[in-house]
């Protein structure tokens, strides 16, 4: 801002003469034709006590600066200049606060939408790919030495996707120790698992029963290390997502925005009131415009926070919750299928697998599919588009239970031929067999998951877009405000030339 001494109208030069000598200006003499009590009051406040003898050098410099400002304050244009500096500074503070608050929100909401939720989905898909691979390996063993093309390719695809997702997850895990440890252990165990499965396969093909022992070893590794690892990964990511939802939607930063807005507004209004008194002009249009802009900026900031919060809430509930419930259902279905195969492999001594099947099915959907994870999914969908898909999944689930019941009947009939029939039903590929039924069920779950994920993405993107607009709007509006203030005050200052 322009600042020179020659446009000062007051005759008092005591301040400029400076020196260590404390000035003691006569209030009556200051600013002829101009007495602003506020200015006097302030200069009184800063007037040093003459009785204080010695002042340090730093104190002197400080004194000089204060004196200089006080000298400015005694003239109207000087006061206006100081005011415009203060206003610009306050507007800059407001812009910085608003920008930081906005970008903190945007980061948190990015973390939800771009990082944590995808990582959570990743953890879920690692889990289901592994569980599906294991169910396939066990079922293949049950079917005999020669697996079907579909099963083999399905198994390989599961492994590819599990190790791909695992390596991506390891890269993206960030600073979470627990998640990193889980991922490291899984990366260590996955090759061991596949090694055992392939040893089982090679031995099976040569008719050697030690193949079954390798399969058991693989399955034990899967159930006791890999799946719990995937589960831990999921838990860590779920907790982190929960935390980020909370920080992305917290209300405390709104207060900071409101406080700086009120401060800027107060100074703007005070300046205008001063101008009204001093210049007898009722409105200074640029300053009024600047005030309106400040209010507009803050209001739009708060409003977009609210919109973002609302959209995030929608992304979380039901979309994100629904993804969770359906993914859990999928994992449980695969576990039930593994149990079913293992019970048949155990051939009569698999009571523990049957008990686990029953417990798993309870968590999955109970008898009708209206409790457990499927029940939760049903409640979450309400009447949205996904509800049809979930209804389809419930039907698939009931069909699966029917086939399972028939297999159990055959298994318990106590006839070798019936047992073979049970195995045929469990491993067969025609319509009423267990695998195709499970696949149908699984497909509708997958469809539900991808629909809810799409919904999540659109909600989360909506939240992020709102904030993205702010990132541009805040600096532009703040600069506009500053320009208006300078312009508005400069008009008045020029009148004193």
């Amino acid at each position: 801002m322009p600042s020179s001494d020659d446009d000062s109208q007051d005759g008092d030069t005591a301040a400029r003469s400076g020196g260590a000598a404390p000035i003691s200006p006569d209030p009556a003499k200051t600013s002829p034709g101009f007495s602003w009590r506020f200015g006097e009051w302030i200069s009184d406040m800063f007037r040093p006590n003459p009785r204080v003898g010695t002042i340090s050098t730093a104190g002197r410099k400080w004194r000089l600066a204060v004196d200089w400002v006080l000298a400015r304050l005694r003239t109207t244009p000087g006061l206006l200049r100081v005011l415009s500096v203060a206003l610009i500074a306050l507007l800059a503070v407001m812009a910085v606060v608003d920008f930081r608050v906005g970008s903190a929100r945007k980061n948190a909401s990015d973390a939800v939408g771009l990082q944590s939720e995808p990582l959570l989905v990743r953890a879920q898909s690692i889990y289901s790919a592994l569980a599906h691979a294991d169910a396939t390996a066990t079922n293949t063993f049950l079917a005999g030495g020669l697996e079907s093309i579909d099963q083999r390719q399905g198994y390989l695809a599961d492994l590819r996707s599990a190790s791909h997702e695992l390596s991506v997850a390891t890269r993206e895990i960030g600073d979470s120790d627990a998640a990193a440890r889980a991922a490291t252990l899984m990366s260590r165990d996955l090759p061991l698992y596949t090694g055992s499965v392939e040893a089982a396969r090679a031995n099976n093909r040569q008719n050697l029963p030690v193949g079954a022992a390798y399969l058991r070893q693989a399955s034990t590794l899967m159930q006791q290390e890999l799946l719990p690892g995937a589960d831990r990964l999921y838990e860590v990511e779920a907790r982190r997502l929960e935390h980020e939802y909370l920080s992305a939607g917290s209300g405390s930063d709104v207060e900071a925005v409101v406080v700086v807005m009120l401060a800027a507004l107060a100074l703007l209004v005070a300046t205008q009131l001063f101008l009204v008194r001093r210049t007898k002009r009722i409105f200074n249009v640029p300053l009024v415009a600047a005030s309106v802009l400040v209010v507009l900026l803050s209001a739009s900031l708060v409003a977009s926070f609210l919109v973002e919060q609302h959209r995030l809430e929608a992304a979380r509930h039901p979309a994100s919750d629904l993804v969770g419930a359906l993914s859990r259902a999928r994992v449980l279905a695969l576990r039930a299928e593994s149990d079913d195969s293992l019970a048949l492999v155990a051939r009569g001594s698999g009571d523990q697998y049957r008990a686990d099947f029953d417990a798993t099915v309870q968590k999955l959907g109970g008898r009708s599919g209206m409790s457990g994870s499927l029940g939760a999914a049903t409640t979450l969908t309400g009447s949205s588009d996904t509800s049809d898909v979930v209804a389809e999944a419930r039907k698939g689930y009931r069909d699966y239970l029917d086939v399972h019941g028939r297999i159990i009947q055959l298994q318990d009939s106590g006839d070798s031929g019936q047992f073979d029939e049970a195995v045929a039903r469990a491993t067969g590929t025609s319509d009423g067999d267990e695998l195709p039924t499970l696949t149908r069920f699984d497909k509708s779950l997958l469809k539900g998951i991808s629909q809810s994920e799409a919904q999540f993405r659109s909600d989360a993107n909506g939240a992020r877009n709102v904030l993205r607009v702010l990132a541009i709007a805040i600096p532009i509006l703040a600069i506009a405000c500053g320009a208006l203030v300078l312009y508005g005050l400069q008009i008045r200052i020029n009148e004193y030339r």
Binding site: G145, R216, G414
Partner: protein
């Protein structure tokens, strides 16, 4: 060197100690602390020699069959065979991982082997149809409890007949019905405990493996033998749930050796040419079919079927089909012992 000699003496002592430990009468309970503390100590042997196994006698002696056998499908009323006949199938607990004895054929999913063929002979005697048999795969730890709670009619699963099992099934388990004695048929095969190592192993007998890990199946006489073997440092037992898990452990070099019945080891050798059997037979393992003690008439019936099978050459045929290639190609069936 005097070490081998002293070890052999100790082996003898412990073998006896083990057989007493196996005899789970009240005498066993009294003697138990001695066995636990006396892994290689002479006092244990002293106790052993003063405690005759007389309360058990010849563990392999079973009940004499009542000739002639009833015709198939005409089981006398009130007998357990009648119950089985009316049910329509004989439920047999077997293993499905022991090549030659009983193993699941990965190609057709059927369990096959020496023991399965014998089980079919019993089904054939009851139904006239050797396919009327339901095979339940059992683990070594499950087989006797399944007989005791009648989940299976009989267990044909390389079960060594000994006094402990005759008197209380598994003497460590005191919950009914698992504390009940188990009855056995006459011996259908005389196996013996041996040691299997990889071909690159320098060990030539069990004592060379002192301090090394030796795999055996839980709930078998073999794992007990490994636990009590008096080498210094002692053998490190590596118990597994299912027999064939031992072969996996050996192939992945997690253990240095497997100890088990020669029949089972023969199956392992067939699956892995890089293994060899070392040392002398360690302990006789006479196999009997385990039957619930409440059905003596069924024990007699099974013994009758075994008599027929031995006499008409079926045993020899089944033997040469499954076990002959690994042992003596022709062997006489074990002589039945009866206690009445």
């Amino acid at each position: 060197m005097m070490r081998p000699r002293s070890t052999i003496v100790a082996v003898a002592a412990i073998t006896m100690a083990a057989s007493v430990a196996a005899a789970c009468s009240t005498a066993h309970d009294r003697a138990a602390p001695d066995h636990l503390g006396g892994r290689s100590a002479a006092p244990a042997a002293a106790t052993t020699t003063t405690t005759p196994t007389a309360d058990c006698g010849d563990a392999t002696a079973s009940l004499r069959p009542q000739a002639p056998l009833p015709s198939p499908n005409q089981m006398p009323g009130g007998t357990y065979m009648r119950t089985i006949q009316e049910r329509g199938s004989l439920v047999v607990g077997v293993d499905q991982n022991t090549l030659q004895l009983a193993a699941r054929d990965p190609v057709d999913g059927q369990i096959k082997g020496f023991e399965i063929d014998l089980a079919r002979q019993i089904a054939k005697a009851i139904f006239g149809d050797e396919n009327r048999v339901e095979l339940k795969a059992v683990s070594s730890a499950q087989r006797l409890p399944f007989v005791q709670d009648q989940t299976v009619d009989l267990a044909i699963d390389a079960v060594t007949v000994n006094c402990e099992r005759l008197q209380c099934g598994n003497c460590n388990d005191r919950t009914p019905p698992f504390d009940e004695p188990v009855a056995f048929s006459t011996i259908y095969y005389d196996a013996s405990q041996r040691v299997l190592v990889p071909t690159d192993s320098t060990a030539t007998q069990l004592q060379d493996l002192a301090g090394k890990k030796v795999c055996a199946t839980k709930g078998t006489t073999s794992i007990e033998f490994i636990r009590q073997y008096p080498s210094r440092p002692p053998l490190v037992p590596y118990p597994v749930k299912v027999r064939s898990d031992c072969l996996v452990a050996l192939q992945e070099r997690k253990v240095d050796a497997i100890s088990g019945d020669d029949t089972i080891l023969a199956g392992f050798r067939r699956q892995d040419p890089y293994t060899k059997i070392i040392g002398p037979p360690l302990e006789p393992e006479p196999y009997g079919m385990a039957i619930n003690q409440d059905h003596p008439e069924f024990v007699r019936f099974v013994n009758g079927v075994l008599e027929t099978v031995r006499a008409d050459g079926t045993w020899s045929a089944v033997y040469s089909k499954w076990l002959g290639p690994f042992f003596d190609s022709v062997a006489p069936p074990p002589e039945p012992h009866y206690r009445d």
